[in-house]
Amino acid sequence: MKNGFRQSMAWLHTWTGLVVGWVLFFVFVTGNLGRFDSEIDLWMQPEAPVQTASLEQQIVAAQTRLQQRGGEWERWGIYPTTNRDSAFLRITWEAPAQPNGARGKRGEEFIDPTTAAPLDARATGGGQLLYKMHYALHYMPRSVSDWLIGICSMFMMVAIISGVITHKKIFADFFTFRPNKGQRSWLDLHALLAVLTLPFFLMITYSGLVFLVYTLFSGVVSNHYGPGYKNRQDFNNELAGRQELLIERTGSAAPLTDLTRVVQQAEYQWGTNQVRSLEILYPGDSNARVRIARQIELPLRSTDELIFDGTTGELLSEIPAEGVASRNFYETLLGLHESLFAGWWLRWLYFLSGLAGATIIASGLIMWVVKRRPKQTKQKNGPDFGFKLVEGLNVGTIAGLQIAIAAFFFANRLLPVDFAARANWEAHILFAVWPLAFLHPIIRPIPRAWVEQWTVAALAFAALPIVNAVTTGRGLNQSIPAADWAFAGFDLTCLAAAALFGTIAYRLQQRFKPVAAKRPAPVTTLAQEASA
């Protein structure tokens, strides 16, 4: 559509990146925090006792609690703390699929293994909530968020491919960085990070899309298995070779077997600490089934599984981790995305790659402004509305989101501990503070808005460890000697974030001071320098 292939692709890259860039930035930042969701969970429930209960004790507590709750459920889930994904023993329940085929309502609870009662700690969404925001957003049903995130991810996929085509010198870009050269530097930063993290970027985007395939391309499964969630489960079970789960309820009640016995069998087969999760299909029915999954230790997310009869406790079948090629490919993609297999070093590498991803998106958004600024500022009637909108959205998203996330953590420490709706209010506060960051650039010149928001973000993250120390008595002076790494890691990461944001604020400030001194420049010219 342009004069040449590459020009067309450059155009496509610019616009697909711009349109959804702000949402993608949010997705990258929250998803990246999700790499340490369990550690954030621990930090956000400081009074929760350290979990030392044995696996058996946890299973007893979970079964007791689930049976106490009563009701008829399609499925129960038990996630002991052997699982890296659960900082605390967690139980889940799911209602039968709705008449329209949609997945039944789900709920979850953290349990204290010693009392089999809900965990006695402040209510919070925890790190899980931040992590969930990266695919479920907030204040909307999954049916809406799945489409929104799916469409944005598809834009990103197109932006990545067209961006790669636009770049002819992939190898040279590895070694090209020309700092302090305005637009040129932004392009170099954007390209350098993108080339460096391209495999990660491609993997995370494509696998993210594959997570949503049942929404975006639901027709593929429903063409063969019929519509709705239940049929989709049947497809998954058939693909995995779980024939024993392709059953219906009998409708006659039968007590659930003692789950500790089936767990013992699994541990006997796999060794201790190898049980990751239990899923109980049709609990209370005579056709109940128990599926036990093993720890994830490889990028391949599917693991060995044992399926038991839920009433007799008899082992029905063993499912190997590896199955047909297409399933292995699918599970490896999703496993790479979720990184549950990753140890500490790899986990931090994931985190850094995610930061690079967020920086690529941010630098792309800023480049759009920097490139157009010379022409826009020369216009008779001032810059276009669209240009000013992008400038404002950039400030409010890139710097403002950091402030909103800090506010979320402050809310966790400062809202009254026994306030019933506090878990919801932590999120409300995040989404109340964030809009302020979008309003701020309207009343302040853009360069000032950048400097001020980065300064606030830096101060906020510097203050978090102090507020934590005062409110919990588990500040850095305690957590480091006690080798309390969830707390120490969180606080140190806050300080690192504060240092980073403070440096950005300081450098932007420096950049725009000499210009102001040299010539009495109009605000718009300052804007040019500030984000250059």
Binding site: S8, L239, R327
Partner: protein, 103 residues
């Protein structure tokens, strides 16, 4: 935008409509093409049903991305229409042929 297109207001309007048209074709035409191809594959590949469906699932986004890139890389609008109509016709024909064979 090419320098020629800037010359007149009319060219600019045409250019804008063309971009709009391409977006529509890329989003909806590309979607139909990718799900159509994926479904066709599930009817012709010699795997088990569940494996077929998963293979198609995995390919959909690659097909969709390729289609979108193609829509924006084609120079002339006419080629675009021909490509879209042609690929959909081929898909429909193949689907028909294989449904006959399977019977």
């Amino acid at each position: 935008m090419s320098s020629k297109a800037k010359n007149s207001e009319r060219d600019l309007t045409i250019y804008r409509w063309e971009v709009f048209g391409r977006v529509l074709i890329a989003v909806f035409g590309g979607y139909i093409f990718s799900i159509g191809t994926a479904l066709l594959l599930t009817h012709i590949l010699p795997f088990e049903r569940s494996s077929l469906v998963m293979t198609a699932n995995l390919l959909t986004f690659a097909l969709y991305t390729t289609a979108i890139i193609w829509v924006f890389s084609v120079k002339r609008f006419r080629t675009l229409w021909l490509g879209l109509a042609g690929s959909l016709a081929v898909l429909a024909l193949a689907r028909f042929v294989f449904s006959q064979v399977n019977l």
